[in-house]
Symmetry: C2
Subunit: 83 residues, 2 copies
Protein backbone atom coordinates (compact mmCIF):
# COMPACT_ATOMS: atom_id res chain seq x y z
CA UNK A 1 0.00 0.00 0.00
CA UNK A 2 1.24 3.49 -0.78
CA UNK A 3 0.99 6.10 1.95
CA UNK A 4 1.66 9.79 1.66
CA UNK A 5 3.47 11.48 4.54
CA UNK A 6 3.36 15.21 5.23
CA UNK A 7 6.23 16.09 7.52
CA UNK A 8 6.80 19.41 9.29
CA UNK A 9 10.26 20.10 10.65
CA UNK A 10 10.64 23.18 12.84
CA UNK A 11 13.48 24.69 14.86
CA UNK A 12 13.00 23.95 18.57
CA UNK A 13 11.20 26.71 20.50
CA UNK A 14 14.28 27.29 22.66
CA UNK A 15 16.45 27.95 19.63
CA UNK A 16 16.76 31.32 17.95
CA UNK A 17 15.47 31.28 14.37
CA UNK A 18 17.42 34.05 12.60
CA UNK A 19 15.62 33.54 9.28
CA UNK A 20 12.27 33.91 11.04
CA UNK A 21 13.48 37.02 12.89
CA UNK A 22 14.57 38.62 9.62
CA UNK A 23 11.21 37.87 8.01
CA UNK A 24 9.32 39.23 11.03
CA UNK A 25 11.22 42.49 10.60
CA UNK A 26 10.49 42.57 6.86
CA UNK A 27 6.77 42.22 7.60
CA UNK A 28 6.97 45.56 9.39
CA UNK A 29 8.72 47.12 6.41
CA UNK A 30 5.89 45.89 4.15
CA UNK A 31 3.27 47.49 6.42
CA UNK A 32 2.22 44.16 7.93
CA UNK A 33 2.94 45.08 11.54
CA UNK A 34 0.15 42.74 12.69
CA UNK A 35 2.34 39.76 11.79
CA UNK A 36 4.84 38.64 14.41
CA UNK A 37 6.61 35.53 15.68
CA UNK A 38 7.52 34.18 12.25
CA UNK A 39 9.30 30.85 12.46
CA UNK A 40 10.55 29.02 9.42
CA UNK A 41 11.05 25.31 9.01
CA UNK A 42 10.71 22.66 6.34
CA UNK A 43 7.68 20.95 4.89
CA UNK A 44 8.44 17.62 3.27
CA UNK A 45 6.07 15.33 1.42
CA UNK A 46 6.98 11.80 0.41
CA UNK A 47 5.45 8.50 -0.55
CA UNK A 48 6.14 5.31 1.34
CA UNK A 49 5.31 1.79 0.25
CA UNK A 50 4.40 -0.36 3.26
CA UNK A 51 2.14 -3.26 4.19
CA UNK A 52 0.23 -1.26 6.80
CA UNK A 53 0.10 2.12 8.48
CA UNK A 54 2.23 1.09 11.47
CA UNK A 55 5.08 -0.05 9.21
CA UNK A 56 4.80 3.15 7.16
CA UNK A 57 4.95 5.21 10.37
CA UNK A 58 8.15 3.40 11.43
CA UNK A 59 9.77 4.02 8.04
CA UNK A 60 8.96 7.72 8.15
CA UNK A 61 10.24 7.96 11.73
CA UNK A 62 13.48 6.32 10.63
CA UNK A 63 13.82 8.70 7.66
CA UNK A 64 13.21 11.73 9.88
CA UNK A 65 15.66 10.67 12.57
CA UNK A 66 18.43 9.51 10.23
CA UNK A 67 18.26 12.03 7.42
CA UNK A 68 15.62 14.74 7.39
CA UNK A 69 15.64 16.18 10.88
CA UNK A 70 18.55 17.41 12.98
CA UNK A 71 17.22 16.24 16.33
CA UNK A 72 19.55 18.56 18.25
CA UNK A 73 18.02 21.71 16.82
CA UNK A 74 14.73 20.64 15.26
CA UNK A 75 11.61 18.64 15.99
CA UNK A 76 9.29 16.93 13.55
CA UNK A 77 5.66 15.96 13.27
CA UNK A 78 3.95 14.14 10.44
CA UNK A 79 0.64 12.82 9.24
CA UNK A 80 0.13 9.76 7.07
CA UNK A 81 -2.68 9.36 4.58
CA UNK A 82 -3.45 6.63 2.07
CA UNK A 83 -2.26 7.85 -1.33
CA UNK B 1 -7.61 38.71 18.48
CA UNK B 2 -4.44 36.74 17.88
CA UNK B 3 -4.51 34.02 15.26
CA UNK B 4 -1.82 31.50 14.51
CA UNK B 5 -1.18 30.65 10.86
CA UNK B 6 0.50 27.46 9.68
CA UNK B 7 1.69 27.97 6.12
CA UNK B 8 3.02 25.30 3.76
CA UNK B 9 4.94 26.47 0.72
CA UNK B 10 5.80 23.82 -1.86
CA UNK B 11 7.45 23.86 -5.27
CA UNK B 12 4.82 23.52 -8.02
CA UNK B 13 4.23 19.95 -9.19
CA UNK B 14 5.44 20.85 -12.69
CA UNK B 15 8.77 22.10 -11.39
CA UNK B 16 11.75 19.86 -10.74
CA UNK B 17 12.73 19.82 -7.07
CA UNK B 18 16.47 19.01 -7.08
CA UNK B 19 16.73 18.97 -3.27
CA UNK B 20 13.88 16.47 -3.09
CA UNK B 21 15.46 14.33 -5.81
CA UNK B 22 18.76 14.23 -3.92
CA UNK B 23 17.00 13.23 -0.71
CA UNK B 24 15.00 10.51 -2.53
CA UNK B 25 18.29 9.06 -3.72
CA UNK B 26 19.80 9.24 -0.22
CA UNK B 27 16.81 7.27 1.14
CA UNK B 28 17.91 4.39 -1.06
CA UNK B 29 21.47 4.64 0.26
CA UNK B 30 20.10 4.43 3.82
CA UNK B 31 18.17 1.26 2.99
CA UNK B 32 14.84 3.07 2.84
CA UNK B 33 13.95 2.08 -0.73
CA UNK B 34 10.26 2.17 0.18
CA UNK B 35 10.43 5.98 0.32
CA UNK B 36 10.04 7.83 -2.97
CA UNK B 37 8.78 11.12 -4.40
CA UNK B 38 10.35 13.33 -1.74
CA UNK B 39 9.51 16.99 -2.25
CA UNK B 40 10.84 19.70 0.01
CA UNK B 41 9.24 23.03 0.76
CA UNK B 42 8.90 25.44 3.64
CA UNK B 43 6.71 25.35 6.71
CA UNK B 44 6.15 28.75 8.28
CA UNK B 45 4.27 29.58 11.46
CA UNK B 46 3.38 33.12 12.46
CA UNK B 47 1.02 35.08 14.64
CA UNK B 48 -1.32 37.69 13.26
CA UNK B 49 -3.30 40.24 15.22
CA UNK B 50 -6.64 40.92 13.55
CA UNK B 51 -10.23 41.80 14.44
CA UNK B 52 -11.66 38.65 12.88
CA UNK B 53 -10.69 35.56 10.95
CA UNK B 54 -11.45 37.05 7.51
CA UNK B 55 -9.09 39.98 8.15
CA UNK B 56 -6.41 37.62 9.45
CA UNK B 57 -6.79 35.49 6.31
CA UNK B 58 -6.31 38.56 4.09
CA UNK B 59 -3.18 39.59 6.00
CA UNK B 60 -1.65 36.14 5.67
CA UNK B 61 -2.53 36.03 1.97
CA UNK B 62 -0.81 39.38 1.51
CA UNK B 63 2.28 38.20 3.42
CA UNK B 64 2.48 35.01 1.33
CA UNK B 65 2.06 36.78 -2.00
CA UNK B 66 4.39 39.69 -1.26
CA UNK B 67 7.15 38.09 0.75
CA UNK B 68 7.01 34.42 1.65
CA UNK B 69 6.06 32.64 -1.54
CA UNK B 70 7.54 32.93 -5.01
CA UNK B 71 4.30 32.51 -6.93
CA UNK B 72 6.13 31.62 -10.16
CA UNK B 73 7.69 28.47 -8.72
CA UNK B 74 5.76 27.76 -5.54
CA UNK B 75 2.24 27.46 -4.21
CA UNK B 76 1.03 27.95 -0.67
CA UNK B 77 -1.72 26.72 1.61
CA UNK B 78 -2.39 27.73 5.19
CA UNK B 79 -4.66 27.12 8.12
CA UNK B 80 -5.60 29.68 10.75
CA UNK B 81 -6.37 28.85 14.36
CA UNK B 82 -7.11 31.06 17.35
CA UNK B 83 -3.90 31.34 19.36
Amino acid sequence: MIFKAEIDIMPLEAILDPQGKAVTQSMGNLGLNEITNVRIGKHITLKVDAADEATAKNKVDEACKNLLCNMIMESYTFILTKA
